[in-house]
């Protein structure tokens, strides 16, 4: 059993798991040993720093934007026409963060569990529409429509025992687990220190390394901290025919105070530093509406890449991303392709730790000049 902590995280496979591109996953021993190395990419140079030095690294006054989404359980083990099935929620179809009924989901073989990689758990089900995934207590989640070959729309209906959809989600769901981890993640392993709104299906992993002490030091140095809510969907589905659609549209909310401070930041030349790829996506989408930040709830439909570069976010703090992933592609919205590849090689050579609970990358926007606005 892992120790409880909002600062620490799960344990990597101690034998050193191996992902594609021969990147050895470095051993991340205990919860409080979450990665704090920082790969810095700025002005064409690549180097190493420590996250705790962030208040000093940001030598220009900055507005740091965090995601205050709380992670929801998204894995549901049940039966569909007598067959063991896992329903995994992958995208939010609700119009706000107060309702939790409608989702996109994928179905996985329930005879295996999260310890088996999802690409080995795919199932062929062509006639699941209008069926109900039953749980052991008689409760269920209805499959309402087939969107694509492996993508389903599902509806979570309250029951007498569970009067709200959120109640059903917490009563029957588990937090998404990762096959490269040896231990099951506990509730305290999947929440950031700043969560306030149940909204995300996967944790904002770039937030795991943040501490209240670091946030206080950033404030004391004159930097601003702003929160938005981004309901991140699932970043890897295991179904190749769906993965290339990622990221799906994602709901996000910008509060009035946040919008005001972001616009003031633009006006006063504070640099905007997005914590995480989700926040980056939301900020770029929001600003692109009318060249200013807007209060409200929106659906991020954009996808940053070398062809759609980041325009308002001047720096992004994110995890370590492997080639051929959507997050790696997003890095190309900040850096020329060659530099993205060089930073990957540098991190690999310097034993950075990958993925959730690993180290971080601070990438400064190579393309952005605010004068372009």
């Amino acid at each position: 059993m892992l120790e409880e902590s909002r600062e620490g995280r799960g344990v990597w496979n101690g034998t050193g798991g191996c992902l594609s591109y021969n990147v050895q996953i470095q051993h991340n021993s205990r919860l409080n040993d979450v990665g704090t190395n920082l790969l810095m990419v700025k002005n064409g140079r690549i180097g190493t720093a420590s996250l705790r030095d962030l208040p000093f690294i940001l030598n220009k006054k900055s507005t740091l934007v965090l995601n205050n989404a709380m992670t929801l359980p998204a894995m549901f083990m049940g039966k569909l026409a007598g067959q063991k099935i896992e329903l995994r929620l992958v995208s939010n179809l609700n119009s706000d963060f107060r309702t939790f009924n409608r989702w996109y989901g994928i179905l996985l073989d329930g005879n295996t569990d999260w310890r088996t990689r999802t690409e080995f758990r795919t199932v062929e089900l062509n006639h699941a529409s209008s069926s109900t995934i039953q749980f052991s207590d008689g409760c269920g989640i209805k499959i309402t429509d087939q969107i694509r070959k492996s993508l389903w729309e599902v509806t979570i209906n309250p029951s007498n025992e569970h009067p709200t959809a959120l109640d059903v989600i917490f009563s029957h769901g588990q937090f998404i687990q990762y096959s490269h981890l040896t231990h099951e993640l506990q509730p305290w392993d999947v929440q950031s220190i700043v969560f306030t709104i149940p909204a995300a299906l996967e944790p904002p992993s770039s937030h795991f390394q943040l501490t209240w002490q670091l946030l206080s030091e950033l404030r004391e140095k004159g930097h601003n901290i702003v929160y938005i809510t981004h309901g991140s969907g699932v970043s890897d589905l295991g179904y190749p025919e769906l993965d290339h659609f990622l990221p799906f549209p994602e709901l996000y909310r910008v509060g009035k105070d946040a919008a005001t401070m972001l616009n003031e930041s633009v006006d006063t030349s504070y640099q905007i530093v997005a914590i995480g790829t989700s926040v980056t996506r939301a900020l770029e989408h929001n600003f692109n509406i009318n060249q200013q930040f807007n209060e409200g709830i929106f659906l991020a439909t954009n996808r940053l890449s070398s062809k759609n570069q980041a325009k308002v976010v001047e720096a992004m703090l994110t995890g370590m991303h492997l080639p051929n992933t959507s997050h790696y592609d997003l890095m190309r919205g900040f850096l020329p392709d060659q530099m993205v590849h060089q930073s990957f090689k540098y991190a690999k050579a310097n034993n950075f730790r990958w993925h959730e609970y690993g180290d971080l990358t601070l990438v400064f926007n190579h393309f952005k000049t605010r004068k372009s606005f």
């Binding site: 205050n68 107060r98 509730p187 305290w188 709104i197």
Partner: protein, 279 residues
Amino acid sequence: MEFNELDEINKSYGLLDEQNYPKWVREELKNYWQSKHVLITGGSRGLGLFLTKNLLDLGAKVAIVARDPIRLQLVKEQLNSENLLTLNFDIGNKETIHTVASMALSFFEGRVDYLINNASTLGGKELRPLLDTPCEDIEHALNVNVVAPFRLTKLVVPAMLGKGTVVNITSDASVTAYETWGAYSISKAALDHMTRIMAKEFSKFNIEALAFDPGDMRTTLHFNAIPDAEISDLLHPGDVALELIVFLAMEKHDQERYAASCWKKVVKDAVFGTGQVVA
């Protein structure tokens, strides 16, 4: 000793009752508590129940956590308010505390004004000298009375950034060494000191942390501890709840821990003296 709180809550222990507080006080309190978001542990009995009842009457949105599902259902039916969320969880269970926070934060749409850590345990079923107290009773008291408020506070503070108050309900047993109250006393002393540290550390986020000794009340906990306690010697939790609601609304807090006699005097002076009550 029988003391039926559910019968009592609709009697004279409402702020809307003219006999309790002057009209101008009630009006100011309504202005203050209207739309405030309050999370209360141990909300189905004693002080927690009367806080809930009165805060709902004043227009606050309240989420309460309690272990007993039947009791909680009775409270829900009796109070019958769409501004009330009842959460049937054991606050001492770390496996479900995140669910409690998630459900409450969803209900409050991400904003909490007050967290009132009121749920409490003696530790064991009866009071005993320390040397006769099982270690498990001490562990249980520390878990429910200290660690659980700590856990919940950690989860709720992000929703308070900029302005908020953590209220920890303590006891005079935290400062006076009563024989046989060991497990409870030790845990409340720890709660007091945790509150002091929270107060210092949270001040930079404009969040208050306060510990309140409510005084000896007619509560299940007290009757469990002293079955033959004389009811007339004990405060009515409804009275204490009203006073605490007034005191919190004053927002003039210069200590981290308030003894019962201290904060109640402030309330009485403000309400029945010449001072103004609320900010």
